[in-house]
Structures are given as C-alpha cells and as structure tokens.
Symmetry: C2
Subunit: 430 residues, 2 copies
Amino acid sequence: MPKPNIQLLLTGNELMTGDIVDSNSAMIAQQFKGLGLDISRKVTIADNITALVNEINLLAKQADILIINGGLGPTIDDLTAQALAKATQVELVEHSEALAHLTVWCEKRDVKLNAPNLKQAILPQGCSIIANKEGSAVGFKVTHLACEIYCTPGVPRELQTMMAEQIAPDIAKKFPNQLMTDVIRLQIFGLGESTLQKMIDEQLPNWPENIELGFRAGMPLLEVKLTTTNQEGHKSKLEWYSKLVNVLGDHIIAKIENTPLSLAKHVLLELTEKNLKITTAESCTGGMIASLLTKEAGASTCFEAGFVTYSNKMKTKLLEVTKKSLEQHGAVSKDVVLSMAKGALEKSSADLVIAVSGIAGPDGGSIEKPVGTVWVAWGYKNNIKTVGLLIPLSRRYFQKYVANMCLDLIRRELMGSIQTAHYIIERKIS
Amino acid sequence: MPKPNIQLLLTGNELMTGDIVDSNSAMIAQQFKGLGLDISRKVTIADNITALVNEINLLAKQADILIINGGLGPTIDDLTAQALAKATQVELVEHSEALAHLTVWCEKRDVKLNAPNLKQAILPQGCSIIANKEGSAVGFKVTHLACEIYCTPGVPRELQTMMAEQIAPDIAKKFPNQLMTDVIRLQIFGLGESTLQKMIDEQLPNWPENIELGFRAGMPLLEVKLTTTNQEGHKSKLEWYSKLVNVLGDHIIAKIENTPLSLAKHVLLELTEKNLKITTAESCTGGMIASLLTKEAGASTCFEAGFVTYSNKMKTKLLEVTKKSLEQHGAVSKDVVLSMAKGALEKSSADLVIAVSGIAGPDGGSIEKPVGTVWVAWGYKNNIKTVGLLIPLSRRYFQKYVANMCLDLIRRELMGSIQTAHYIIERKIS
C-alpha cells in the first residue's frame, strides 16, 4: 500500500495575526508518525469563509487525507462547519448525535446548555461525527474530491484524545503496515547545536549518509535524532549510535522512548530509586527549581520543602546566612550559596540540596559581578560542591537555563559522573 | 498603494514531525500588523531540497513578499541558502560581509570560528545580507519572479531583532501609510470562551457588525479583541468598548497596550505602587506562584521570601501549622491554609500573603476531597480570607490555573473589588 499524501489545514485569525502559537500541528504529526506516515505540507489561513472554501477545494484535490484543525468552537469566528458545507455543497443541519453529546457534556459539568454551545451541533448534512471525550465540540468527517477530510477541535487536549482514539485508528485501518522509519532520539543538556555538530564532525568524521542526523534546539534541552529509512541504515544504526553516545558522554540525559521526560523527572526518578530527599534554596531562580520538581506527579516522595529567599534579610532569617558573610562576599558568592545550602539542609532534613544565587538582570550587575553571574552549591549534605559561572542570557532564559542546570548538576551527582559538564568548562568564573 | 500579498514559508523537519512548536510565525505576523499589513497564507514543509525549491517557486509566483524562516543554521539539515540558489539559478559563494560578521561574533564570545559556523557565510550570489545582531547566522534577501524574498533565522530572539530592525523598516518604505485596522485588546481571567460569548449575547444583543469580536483562549488568560476596519466602526467602537467593560467587570485584568503583561506583573505593579510586600506559602503549586512573581524584573521590591511546604511535616516545621489541625482537618482544609498564611506572614514580615493547599493529582484524592480540591487563604495580615474550590483539571493545568487564580485573588484584593469572581461562584465547595 503506497503512502497517502497527507496535508494539514490550520484555521484561525489568532494563528495568522500572531496572537497564538500553534502546538497542535506538532501533536498531529506525532500521531501520524506512530502510523509510519508523514504530513507533507501544512497550510494556515485566517477565519475567512471564502478563503477557507477555496483552500479546502485546493487541498482536497492534492491530498488523500486532509486534517482541518480549529474553528469548531461556539463563537462566531468558528467557521469550519460552514466552510465544509459550502465546499461540498450540502446543507448545515442539527446532528442528533452531536446534540446528545453536548447535553451530556453540560449535565456532567453542571452547566446550562446555552445557545453558543448549541451551535456546535449544527454540522454539514451527511458527515460522520467523531466523538470528543474532552470537550463540547465534536469532530466530523466528510469525503470530498476523493479526499478524506477530518475536522478537529482547536483545544489541544481535545484534539489529542480525538487523534489518538478516533482518527489514528481509522487511518491505520485504511493504510496498514507502513514501512516505518526508525528513529533514535537522545536528550542532551549543556551543549549548543554548533558545538555538538563540531564534536561529531571531528570525532566521527565518517558518519554514514544513510543515518540522518537531526537536531532540535529546545530550551533548555537539545534533542539529537538518528533517522534511518532503509534496511542498510537500520542495520548499522546501533553501532553508530554507540559511537555517538561515547562522544557525548554524560551530556546525554536519556534516550527518549516515547514522550521525552523533563530533566526534573529524571532527577526525581533517580532520587526515588535511591530513596533520597532533596531540598532547594533559591534566590535568582525564585522558586522555579521547586516548581519544576513539583510539576511532576509523585514529587512528594523526594521533595518536602523548598525555600525562596529572594532578599538578603530572608537569607539570614530563614537559612541562617550570616550578615557578615553577606557583607563581606555579597549575596552572589561561594560563601553565601554554601550557607544557603547548609541552612536548607538543616531546616528540611533532606539528603541533597541545590542552592543558587545570581544576578538575573536586567539590573543589579556590576563590573566585578555582571548580570549573568551565578553561584551554585549542590550535592549531598556531607559533600557540597560549589561553582561560579557567567551565563549572559536575558532574565527569562537565564532563570530557565540556571534552574535546569542546577537539576543537571544534581543528576550528574546522582549518577556519580566524573566528567565535567561543557557549561562548567566554558563558563566557569573561578 | 494597494496592500501587498504577503506569504510565509516555514522550513524544518522538526516543524513537520512535531518535534518543535512554531512560535516564529506569530512574531512575524505581529511585526507586519504594526505596519498595517497581514500575512495571507502560511506554508510549512520539511527540509527537503526538491520540495523547498518547488514551494519557493510556487509562492514567489503568488506573493509580493515572501518571508522564509529557518534553515540558516550551521548543521547539515539547514538548506535555505542552497534552495534559494537553485530556485534563482545562481551559485553559492562566500560573502565577505557574512564572514566578517561571523568572525566578530565568535571573537566576542571567545569561541573559535569552526567549520559548521563558516557554512553560514556561504550564500546565493548577489543576495543582500541582512544583519543578525543576536546570532551567528545572517539573513539575506533575493528578488525572484518579482517577489521580494527575505530569508530569516529560526532562533526566535535572532528573528525578532532582525524583523524589527531590518526587515520591517525595509517593507514599510516600500508600502507606506497602510490603512490600519484598529484593535482594542482586553485581558480576562476567570471566564471561559462560551461563558463570555453568552454574556455578550445576552447583555449586548445588538452588538454591531462593523466591530469584529475575537477571542483567544489562552492558558490561563483569555483575550478579547475588538477589531474595526472602516470609519464607521472606528467611530462607534469606544462606546461599545465601554459597554463591554461594564459587562465583564473585574474579570478584566487590563487593556493590552503593546505586549500583554502577565498577571504576576499586574500584581507586582499594584504592590509597588502601594508600597506593600507579599509572601507565598505553597503546597500544591510547589513554588509556581513564587516563580511567576520572580520571573518579572523588579520583583524584589515586593517579594522577599516564599515557602514551599510540600509535606505535612514541613508545614508544621516551617510555618507552625499544628499537628492537631493537620490531623483533624487534613492538609487540604480551611484551617491549614489559614495557619500556613499566618505562619508565612510572621516569618517573612510581609503585608500580604497567598497560601494554597490542594490535591493536584493524579493520586491523593478521596470521596470527600477529590482530585482538584483546593483551599486558598489570601489577603492582608489583618484580613485573611479563605475559600475552598473544586477545579477538576489535570495536574499541569490545575497547578497553572490555581497559581494564576491566587494571583487574581490578590489582584482583586489590591483593587478593592467587591464583585465575586466567576470561578468562585461556579466552583466554591463551601
């Protein structure tokens, strides 16, 4: 069975005007990937009925499968049903299946079925309804110019469940047993894209052509992808994968199996396995490390308390950092983070600690300690390490990077790493 | 001068496979908006040289201006320069201006100019270089089939500066004095999209057709947009805007002037003006409220310390919540959040407090207190209010919603609001 031509049409003024960022098409692509299928092209247009009808006709001529996302909601700018009815030249009618869904949905939430909600049951005549377990707007399917058109809701959670439980199985039935591309994905922390490319160029100069190398510069994690599409590539991949793992060393957080885990989750898994508890003492990251840890379910096993000591006074009052130390060395210093670490350990009875104090900017820098200067103390209570670094990023990126770097330092500690992180080699100030 | 047809081509395997989410096109659209111009269509395709060349030829025929984003980087999957050279049938050559930029860029960062970086100076012959102040990859411009093609970097920060400082002024010169659409944007918290539509339908049934109403369901803030495109609409807009403001009441966070501010920033601005300090005592939100506050520059004026007391033991040890209270009422109770609030106020010497304890799930729920139950204590030290709510969202959404709801409660307190928030009316458990 040949691969179908799959295209994607995203609708929404807010996608065109830049008022919203599209995360849905990524999710849809991932779902198709699981079937061995790729989206070949993606078009985005505004909520304009004429433009919508034109584009639907254009795409339906080219594609075997068209996924339309967005425009199913209750408000007046939701036009997908109307556009499909026009393109396929049928009437819009109330669908009893959709109405029943809306009624149950509202009852469950103790909400009255109002007029805007009712609009979501008015759909093109003859379309098949696609259930929506997560929200009020059902999806629907029509066939037009020999193209199967699936109309899906814009709310990410609703879309995800609908794709996974309804649409992907439907498509899998029609296009079974696709030759899968084989992908290995690695999570990396602490190496930039060009540094990484250079390491590979220098240390693995004969990288084979049939193993495609891809990079995804995320913040804060970088992803490296090895993709093979033929038997030859499949065969030699594991060998080259091992070589790559050797080159990248402890910068590898993990091999990604399904959804990538966060750095915090990796740390929590290690802590849980070793039956250890961690605490945090944060100044410049202002609670972000604690928040990253507690975003993960099950954090309570390893995390009991965190301290956000943003002012000097509170560093003294809550963590017993001495005034003398603050005066002599300043809040952003080895001495102070070490005291913060010790104070937090004592107050929380944890086994490990991360303490961090830095200048996130935009103000507060000086010639000796410019914006981006940060001191970290981390480790086990009988073995606290410290390092001072210069990380010249804007406030937002600085906080995010530093919070994750702290988690990475703990991760390396927990795995007993003896390699030095690239960010320490590059950015150490003393 | 008629409006030009502007289209956008995004390139990148990671955009097609769903490994990355596109935030760049939103930013590009915003820049054009500032010129009174709209992007009519946006196409995304993978890093495949043949597909790229075809799409460039196709789009250049339709559009007056084409922005290509991505594929300028140092790695082997960056193909934009190659594709443009092929489409316009010129050679790829080293550009001295680009090379000079790379040399300075590396010197400034104390980084060696390596081979992958050098690739970024090899561009189509005869193209004009567009400076990149933020990164290594310069942009470039070519004219093809009477279409002006601007090639821009994928890194958001680099793109933003290049768009604002180089490309937008260039385009403004060619298409000056566009008839601007006039937009008023409002930030809302605590009303869902269909609730909001219903309020408008019921209370403002004669809403005029020449004032377009748009909604953007963000998490956690909702945006309402009033757009007018003709003189008649411009004239009556302020009148209808006032009516809308009346209907929405204190659910309005602010009118958005340029970039929307976060809820945390609004709270900090109010606190700064009133010369007040706030502290946080967080259980289920695990530091997120403190982190939201400290993400904003200048938070130190109003925020000195926050407590993350995730376990019962730490609620007792750090905030002096009594064991008796925990045993009798449970950690998620009015009594306990009230004690947490008082404890945090005492230890931090702040004027206001937010304390929160809830069941974020997926585990930990019971019949009496299901997942989603949350108690909040908030207010001034001599006037602490409490409320218990049921917010049945998944862990991630629950934490984000609750953290922002707490900030909203403080915002309402600071503005002396006497209206009850919709989320309290709908979700109160006692």
